[in-house]
């Protein structure tokens, strides 16, 4: 899923300064699962904004709404009758949400209430870690099912580098060295010799480097 972090309340307050009517807009997709942008978090953020704005003598009008998904025009359309009633819409979906809302309603000012951090998963309750950089050409089967592009700090395809120590990365003892894990896993599977091949340069055209990406499925298009 896409994982995010709430922005500090002070930052959100300063973004919406001078705007009277505010809508906090949640999403029932990824951000609900990672507990940062669902209906519950909409309620928490809206209350915090009301209290802070009231204290500062500002209009406390902060309303709440949560869409099924903000990354789908069908659901964004549910805002059609109300969007223009607000001086600010604070979206707490991933980075897609504020943009879909902004593109749909040209006169409405939209603000991001969370920082989108990575594509990853939950290691345990309350702990998430990055797993994918969406390079557009998956190679994990060659590396014991673990991704060196997303998880090696240098994205090395022929690691581990000289900075790997006691299973950790040179950037921090808190960061596991994925190449250590790749070697362990390939070794356990009796496939260590596969790592002897020199991996050639990667083609980054399918990644963000090739420009913004778009996918068209002719079989699904109407």
């Amino acid at each position: 899923m896409i994982v995010g972090d709430s922005k500090p309340l002070e930052e959100i307050l300063s973004m919406i300064e001078g705007r009277d009517k505010v809508l906090v807009l949640g999403c029932r997709g990824c951000v609900t699962v990672c507990n940062v942008g669902g209906e519950k978090e909409v309620g928490i953020l809206a209350s915090a904004l009301r209290i802070a704005r009231k204290k500062a003598g500002l209009p406390p009008t902060v309303e709440e709404m949560t869409l099924e998904r903000q990354c789908d025009p069908e659901y964004v359309e549910e805002l059609a009758d109300v969007a223009e009633n607000y001086d600010a819409i604070v979206s707490i979906a991933c980075g897609v949400g504020p943009q879909f809302v902004s593109e749909r309603f040209r006169d409405v000012a939209v603000f991001p209430g969370i920082n989108t951090t990575f594509i990853g998963g939950a290691l345990e309750h309350g702990v998430w870690a990055e797993r994918c950089q969406s390079c557009g050409n998956c190679l994990v089967h060659n590396f014991g099912g673990l991704c060196p592009i997303a998880r090696c700090s240098k994205s090395l395809m022929n690691g581990p580098c000289g900075g790997s120590a006691s299973g950790n990365c040179e950037i921090s003892p808190e960061v596991p060295c994925v190449w250590d894990q790749i070697v362990q896993k390939m070794s356990a599977m009796g496939r260590l010799e596969e790592l002897e091949q020199v991996w050639p340069n990667k083609n980054w055209l399918t990644a963000r480097d090739g420009g913004p990406r778009k996918r068209v499925r002719e079989d699904l298009k109407q």
Binding site: N201, K202, W204, L205, D209, G210
Partner: protein, 308 residues
């Protein structure tokens, strides 16, 4: 004086400046650099040395700049943000100035998709506006981007590019203003063919007083043929070639097209000499360095004034 380069001295003395351009070879052919440089010696203040232009790998710009210095010419070191992060950009400008390079042109750089290695990653750690600000800070505050002191600060005449013909037109002058605010001492424009649009661009520039904060050099590239004009009109992004330019070239015999292209460039320069806010011309005779002299001489700009 920021760097005391020949280009800076010429512009600050109020002379109508002339710069040229040279693309390094796709290899380490030193003689090729010297050969092209020979055509430009004595006819321009300084010569832009492109940096992996159109994302095609070539001899490093700083190295070709050094060859020019050894040949008695002054280079404008072009630097693109596509291929280097801030560490490399700062390291390279320190190295370049240590070798005697004084002028630098800060660019974003063409995307690598249509270059010689489209499958590569791009960097864009900084953009061209941020690069100008970084170099201005290194020069004026004698500090790295992280505020640590430099052991020897670069003396630089900072350049930027501007394309009056890209879209949206209403934002082009604002973007130029941003580059000047970030630190540009001089600006070279994209090659100009649509004179009406350029006049409007300069009018807006002068209305905002930007020509008093920065020297603006108008870009000129002579058309070699009808084919080139049609190609540029159709396939080069951000290039504005009006139909009248193509028609005029079509109006002469095929053998006369190159001469007509040079004549058109000379006429443009004559107009730039009189245009408010234009401090000089940047003559980009792409793979046509040996014809640059005809254009500059034809426009009555030779011999070049001497300043000290």
């Amino acid at each position: 004086m920021k760097a005391g380069s020949n280009l800076e001295k010429m512009l600050s003395a109020g002379h109508f400046a002339v710069t040229g351009e040279l693309g390094p070879p796709q290899g380490n052919n030193v003689e090729e650099v010297r050969h092209k440089a020979g055509f430009l010696k004595g006819i321009v203040e300084s010569v832009n040395i492109t940096d992996n232009q159109t994302a095609v790998v070539r001899m490093a710009s700083w190295a070709a700049c050094k060859i020019l210095i050894d040949e008695g010419l002054e280079p404008n070191y072009q630097m693109v943000c596509r291929d280097r992060n801030r560490l490399a950009l700062m390291a390279d400008i320190l190295g370049a100035t240590a070798l005697g390079i004084k002028n630098v042109l800060c660019l974003s750089g063409d995307h690598q998709r249509f270059g010689s290695h489209p499958e590569s990653k791009n960097v864009y750690d900084l953009d061209s506006v941020q690069l100008l600000a970084a170099f201005k800070k290194m020069r004026d505050e004698k500090k790295f981007l992280n505020d640590k002191d430099l052991d020897g600060a670069p003396e630089l005449f900072l350049g930027a590019a501007s394309n009056p013909f890209a879209d949206p037109f209403e934002f082009r002058v604002t973007r130029l203003a941003k580059k000047i605010a970030a630190g540009a001492d001089f600006v070279q424009t994209q090659c100009i063919y649509n004179m009406d649009k350029f006049r409007e661009f300069m009018k807006q520039t002068v209305d905002r007083g930007l020509h008093e904060k920065c020297y603006i050099l108008a870009g000129v590239t002579p058309m070699k043929s009808v084919g080139m004009a049609k190609y540029m009109a159709k396939f080069v992004p951000g290039m504005d070639v009006p139909e009248s330019v193509v028609k005029r070239l079509q109006g002469v015999d095929k053998k006369q097209q190159a001469a007509e292209g040079i004549k058109m460039a000379i006429e443009q320069i004559e107009e730039f000499k009189e245009m408010e806010g234009v401090a000089g011309v940047h003559v980009m005779a792409i793979e046509w360095e040996h014809r640059a002299k005809e254009i500059i001489e034809g426009a009555g700009l030779l011999p070049r004034p001497v300043v000290d």
